[in-house]
Every structure is written in C-alpha cells, then in structure tokens.
Amino acid sequence: MAEFWMHSGWLIPAYGLLGAIATLPWSIGLIRRTGQRPAAYLNLVMTFGAFVHSIFALQRVWGQTPQELNWDWFQVADLTLHVSFELSTLNLSIVVLIAGLSFLAQLFALGYMEKDWALGRFFGLMGFFEAAMSGVVLSSSLFLSYSLLEMLTLSTYLLVGFWYAQPLVVTAARDAFLTKRIGDVLLLMGVIALSAFAGSLRFNDLYEWVKVADLTPIVATLLGIALIAGPTGKCAQFPLHLWLDEAMEGPNPASILRNSVVVTCGAYILIRLQPVVVLSPIALSLLVIIGTITAVGASFVALAQIDIKRTFSYSTSAYLGLVFIALGMEWPGVALTILLTHAIAKALLFMSVGAIILTTNSQDLTELGGLGPKMPATTACYTIAALGLVGLLPLGGFWGYCLGVDFFWGEQPVLVAVFLLVNLLTALNLTRGFRLIFLGPAQPKTRRAPEVAWPMAVPMMALLVTTLVVPWVMLRLDLLPPWQYINSTALVLLVVSGVAGVAIGAVMPLSQLLARSTQKPLRIAQDLLAYDFYTEKLYRFTVVWVVERLSVASSWFDRYIVDGLVNSVGLASLIGGESLKYSISGRSQGYILTIMVGMGLLGLLMMWNTF
C-alpha cells in the first residue's frame, strides 16, 4: 500500500485540478438549484485528499533516496522535453505544507466568502492554484517547472481579478500578469538557451551539464540573469515587486496562499536552478543585490503603508529578499528554513487580517483600534504569527534568522546587518500594527466587532497550533543548529534587534506618523515610502512609456506612411486614368496624328543605331 501512495505521488497535483474541473457546472451556471456550496465542498474534499496522499507518500519516502518518475512528453529530432516528477523528502514536505495551507485557506474561505455569488469559481481557481503549486514543487524538469510557473501566473491573474467589476482590481490583475510575464519571458529565454546548450531540461541532467559546461562569461551571465528573472517576478523582488502589493485587492483567502506558499514556489525554483546559476558569479552577486535592496527597501515601505494587507505584503517581499540573499551566498539550507517558517507564520498572520477585514469591513489601519478584547482569538493569532515571523525566541522565524546570521557572521558583516535591520523593522511594523488594530479606543468601524464564526476560527486555531509547534518539529527533524555551535554574540544581537524593534514600535507616537507630516522633509520621506519609492511612476515613465510610444508610432506609421503610400499609388493611377480620359476626343484625326507621331518616334529610335 505504501508503495502505491508513492508511485502515484505524481498524481498529487491532479487532486486540485480535478476539483477545479468539477466546479465548472456551478461556475458556468449549469447547476443553479443547489447554490454554489457543493462546489466548495468538492474542492475541500479533493484538497484534503491531496493532503492525506502527500502525507502517506512522505512517510514512505522518508529517509529514502528520491524517486524519479519520468515521461518523454515530446520527442522530435534533437529536442526531448521531459515531464518528470521527483519525490523526495524535501519535495513532499513542501507539498504537505502547500496542501495543508490550501485546505485551511479554503476552509477559511468558506466563511470569508460566504456571501459571494461566485463561490464555485473561486474554489475552482483555488484548486487550480494548488495544483500548479504542488506541481512546481514536485517537478524535476525545468520545462515542466516553467510551464507550471506560467499556470501560477495565469491563476494569480484570475484570482486577483476575481472581483473584476472594481477598477482597482482590474489594474491589479493586469499588473500582476504583466510584471510576472516580464520575468517569465526572460526565464523562457533562459530555458530555450539552456535547452539548446545542454540538450535536456531535467534538473539532474542540467547539474551534470554544468560540470562540463564551457560558456563564455558573457553568455553565462546573460543566462544566469535570465534564469533568476522568473523567480524575481514570482517572489515579488525589486524591480518586479509591484504586483504583490496591488494583488492585495484580491480576495483574502487567496492572499493567504499568495503571501505564504506561492512566493515559496518561486523561491523553490530558484533553489533548484541555483546549481546552474552558479555558472555566473555576476548572477549570484545580482541575487544578493536584488535581495538586499528588496529586503531593506520593502521593510521601510511596509512601515509607511496604512492598508493592513499591503503593509504585510511588503514584509513578504522583504523576507523573500532574505531568501534571495541566502541563495546568492549559496546557502540553500538557510533559504529553505526562512521560507518554511515564514510561510506558516505569514499564512496565520493573513488569516487574522482576514478575520479583521471581514468583521470590520475595513482594511485601513487608521480606522481600526480597540479590537483586542473583542476578538480574542484573532488577537492571539496575530500575536503568535508576529512572534513566529520575527527573530525573537523561540518560534520559527527566529531560527531562520539565526541560521542566516550565523553563516554570514565571519565574512559578510554587511549581510548580517541587513538581516538584523530587517528583523528590527519587521518587529517594529508588527508592533505598530498591533497597537493600531488591537489597542487604543474603539473607532466607529470597530465598535461592534464580534469574533469570527467557526469556519474561519477553526483553520485559524489549527494554524496557530502549527505555528507554535514549528520549533519542536524542527528540533525533532534535526533542522535546528546544535546548541554548542550557536554563536552567542549573534544570537544576542538578533534578540536585541527584535526587542529594539518591539520597543520602538511600542513607544513611538503613532498618530503623528500616520498623519501626513506638516514638515516638508518628513512629508517627502513619508510619501516616498508610502508610494513605494514611486516604483509605479518609474515604470510608467520607462517601460510603459517606451512601449506606448512605440506602439503609437508604429500604428501611426502604419496608417500614414505604409497605407498612405499604398493609397497614393492607388490615387495616382486613378488620377492618371481620369486625366488621360480627356485625351479621348472622339475625332479620328487626333488618333491618327497620335499614331503617326508614335510610329515616327519609333522609327527614329530604330534608325538611331544605324547612324
């Protein structure tokens, strides 16, 4: 039986896909009598099936060598495209995480989306989303991974655009698709080039090829940059980070997944690709640079946001920046630890945010306050999630930071400083959020705020417990560094940075920070951060402007030059005909004269040679 679970392990993505297909009759309106609920239940069952299946498969694979399942999907001439899956302990653990979080998010959605008329479509999209994610993680061929990343792009587009009647949603969905698409097209260029150079696109073959690869430095660099461009878009890293914060216009249950496991998928591809990116030292340094810029920049930008979802989505970008740094420094272990601990804690954080939004119908931090005593469960979730994120003992986030700081301690003091700074700023921002949401006097929107109902409370509590046991699980799995190797200075510094963040957040005057300052320099700084360093404007005046001008120019060229030329040729022939018409007098003398003159000229011409 255990064998069966494993050999059918590649089917795990099929659960979500089947669930998505099964919702079609509801979402296209074939079944109306039952309401939309059955579609949701179908998807919940399928996702739970995927969860159980992946746990069984994980049990079987535990401690064994990875199993690979491979099909030659496309085989022509010198091109073979493989569809292959790898079932390893790591892969399946992430799949368990994805399926579990997806199940909880869908359960949460049952409450959160209760009043939505398109519940079936939403759950179908969630199923599709989940299928693509688990496929990305299980895939062991770059071709398949690329394809599934595109599926993620597509489903992100559809999920962000779920409430498509709102103008902000429309631009958010567009930006989500296009910014990711820029990364994807660059990645596709890398994939095509790799396929031409290496022959096969399976990761294992690529790793073999890297050993013998002999590329000129410039080709290697371009290849490396192309390969990291895709994950840069998926993980919302500078300069392709714009979409994640806009994507917060989408429904919250999808945001839970997007901020936790979707970005994890993007980073996971990068982890798989890292042995190839190694070909180019410049690309590796670029990873570190991108990561640093995003980690520090996004942490600051998060501080200036007043939208509850957006501020935490910037913190997602910042954490993924840390992951990029770790990968650029070739420490995939650090990257994975940060990814996994961040995913669980961030999912919990977004669940509590969802609860707040549903109860108060507001996601503006300035309109909230005093929710602490009214929504105890939500408060507990927020607190635990915050503790799980930041580098304060003893929950998951701490250990991610701890590993990072430990490894960079000797040779990269700058990166250590980046980690500590991000930790400080995150703690500061979470404390700021806590004060604004849960403390202080109740405002009009928070006066009547009952705790959420059980469909949302149950997944929140389940995830809360999970977050609490993360360190224990890590201890059991020997993922924590042994005590004797821990650098105590680093540890103290880390805790100090976290405590400092909390302290600053606790004492800083909030009302002044939120109102736009009357002092000009401070106001400029505030606006700079609040508008994300004006990245959107930057886009508008560079890429968007160039494409727009070019398109207008080519359209103009088409209409007036190409078509103008064509039409003038037509006009010239028409005018020619019209004007020649007047030489037709109807008198034979004229015709004969013309003929004579013509013949005379002809004769002259023929005689010319004889002289």
Binding site: I28, S147, A165, P167, V185, L215, S555, V566
Partner: protein, 510 residues
Amino acid sequence: MLSALILIPLAGALVISLWPRQWSGRQIWLVTLLVQALSLLWGGWIAWQFDIQQPDLQFVESLPWIDALGLTYQLGVDGLSMPLLLINSLLGGIAVYASSATIQRPRLYFSLVLLINTAVAGAFLAHNLLLFFIFYELELIPLYLLIAIWGGARRGYAATKFLIYTAASGALILGGFLGVAWLGGAGSFNYDVTLAQSMTLLQQSLLLGAILVGFGIKVPLFPFHTWLPDAHVEASTPVSVLLAGVLLKLGTYGIVRFGLLLLPDAWNLFAPWLAIWAVVSVLYGSLAAIAQTDMKKMVAYSSIGHMGYVLLAAAAATPLAILGTVMQMVSHGLISGLLFLLVGVVYAKTGTRDLTVLCGLLNPERGLPITGSLMIIGVMASAGIPGMVGFIAEFVVFRGSFVAFPIPTLLCMVGSGLTAVYFLLLVNRAFFGRLQVAPASDKVEPDVLLPRVAWRDHVPALALALLIVALGLQPNWLFRWSEVTTIAWRSPAIAVAQPLPLDSSEPLRF
C-alpha cells in the same frame, strides 16, 4: 483519392448554386455543413491512411493536362500539407456553422465559402507549380466577393485593396515559377526540389526575391501587410475565420515549399536577412496591435506578429524549426479562428467592437460570461501560456531557431511578451469592469441587458478551445504527421544552420 478533397466542396458549391429548386436558407446551410463534414471526414480518413513513417509524397495522383505548357494535374500530400488540409476542412466547417442561415443571398454565399475550401485544398495538394498557381488565384475571387458583398461599411475599399494586393502577389509568384521552370530547364512545372540545382546563385536569388515578396504579401509580412487589417475589419466573422485560419497559411506554406525547399542556395544566402525581416514583422505587428481600439483590428495585427514566427523558423531551417513552422501554422489557425469567432459573438450581441466603449462583458447575469471565459482561454493561448497549443508551437519555433539565429529569436520572444500586453488590454478593457456598451456619460441609464448567447452559438468556439487545449497537452497528435517529413528534408543542401558549438571558440554574438 486526394481529388475528392477538392471535388467534394466543388460539387457542393455546384449543387448549391445550380440546384433547380428554391431552397430556404436553413436548408442551404444544412447542406453546406454536410458537405464540409464530409470533406472533414474524408480528410480524417486520408490522415488515417497516411503513413507517418514515410517522408515522401503520398497518394500521388497524376494526370496529364496541358502537356505543351507543362501543366500536369499532379496531387500529393506529405507531412507539411497534411495538418494544413485538416485545418482547412475543420475551419471551413466551423465557418459554415458560424454563418447565419438567414443571411442575404445564401446560395451565393455558401457556394463561395465552399469554393474557397476547394481552392485552398487544391493549393495544399498541388505538386505542379502552375496547378498551385491556378488554385492560389482561384481562392482570391470568392474571397473578394465575400468581403465585397457581405462586408461592413468600407467593404468596397477593403475588398479592392485585398484584390490588388493578392493579384500583385499572384503575378510575382507566377513570374517566379516561370523563372524556376524555364531557367531550371525542366520543361515541365512539376514540383521537384532539384529543379533549381542548375541555376546560378544570382538567378536563384532573383527568383527567391520574387517568390518571397509574393508570398510575403499573402502571409502578410511588414511592409506588405496593410490589406489584412482592413480586410478583417470589413469581413464578416466566418470569412475572418477562414481568412486568418486558412488563407494566410497559403503564404507561409508557399514560403516553405517554394522558397526554402525549391531554392535552397539562395535561401542560405538570404536566411540572416529573413530572420531580421521576421523580427521586424513580429515586433511591428505586436506594437501596432497595442495601439488598436477595434478588437478585430487588434486580432488582425496579432496575426501579423504571429505569422512572423513562421518566417523566423523557416529562415533558421533546422529540422526542429521546420517542424515548428507547421506547428505554428496550425496553432495560429486554431487560435486566431477562436479569437475571431469570439469577437464576432461580441459584435453580434453588443453591436460594437470598440474597446473604448465596451466594458465589463464578463458580467454573469447580464453580460457574456461564457464568451468572456473562452476569450480568456483564447488570449492566453495566443500569449503562449503552457498547456495550450500556442505554447508548444512557439517553444519549438524558438528552440529550433535559437541555434541558428540567437539574437533574432530572443527579439521574437519579446514579441511573444508583447502579445500578453495587447491581449490583456483587450480582456481588461472589454471584459473586466462594470458592464456598459456605450461611452460613459453622466446621464442615468438603465442597466444594460445583453441578449443571451444560445448554446448552439458557443459550439464552434468551444470545439476550437477544446482542440487548442488537447493539442497543447498532447502535441504528439499535432507533430506526428510532419515529424518524419521535416526531418528528412534536412539534406545537406538545405542545412542552413549548424548547431552552435558549445565551446567558446566561436562565442555567441550577443
């Protein structure tokens, strides 16, 4: 056997136009649909009998016709033409299904549609240069009439433009063919890849130039493309489907069959320039599409961009790239057919195709939700999202061309990114947002209620969408026909591109 593919629609056209009794439009529609179904079935049967292991011409039929001229009725099918024949019959059937049975002058209309299918099938089957030319010209007349009679407001202009452009194309091609036959000294116009062997390079180049421009008009390639947007905008939906799905393929088919294969030496010489031409065409078409506000024009410009990929692949001429040309032709036929059908539905229900006016059509109760969903599938397929046929076709084209022309290939991929830009604009403007079909104004107006689309009107688009997804998931069904043929063509004579050396002795020209 192959003649049946030509004769079935021809007989259908004759029966419909000459049957001595008055038929209702509905009956004519039904008969035409039956004829198309019959030819599709026949095409399927030929595909069934087709030996995919055999690279040569199959089912050859040869009848002497006018020996003095060297014109022989010679038909045959190989891996290049087999998929295109099937697409021709399929899209022909879909075009008929999508036509209204209550159309004005149904007899003429439906017999002209059948005549187009006759001519296109004949052109794909012909293995005699003159015979190809006859069919190529034959297809022109019914299409001219279809646009000029059943077209939109500026139909006269569009149809005449189409006629003049295509006639010029025909003249150039005829000149090229005459040159090939006479300079080659064969005395016959029968298609033979060795025909041009005895020619000098200069002769070959001149002939190739004429043939390229001739077919380039048909494809269409920049700067010979302006007839296409006009023709599409004025043509009715089924005619647009035929035009984009089938007739443009004559151009690319001709470039591969009569350019690449017939004049290989000159092709070698031209190849780098052709790749650049392809890039210009792709980028120009894609950029121009972004600026369009008419949905149909946007799809038409996207055709210009996507057909450029075929030229790129043909220029590279690696076996994979040649296979890519076939796959891209089929995928473009299906995808653009789907897009034109959907734009047609939108136009029929709202009365406009203007992107500045349409908004929120996805509205579930009052809008066109299913058309909108299919449109999203269509634009995603066109933008090269995996899981649909557009992706694998483009992947093969790019992968096959990259080894020969890395920079042009990468630039063409930028065009693939631009596809996402303009089609996303289309979906965002027309389908997302609050439902409205008139320019925004301050007046309080009642909610728009669009008429529902009957399920029978969804059938053609659904069928195409299913096919697009099926071929995308299982591309084997698409490339199996052409694989052996295209690989067998890689004789030393046409191997333009050597695979890139992996060592750094000759670095890529980035």
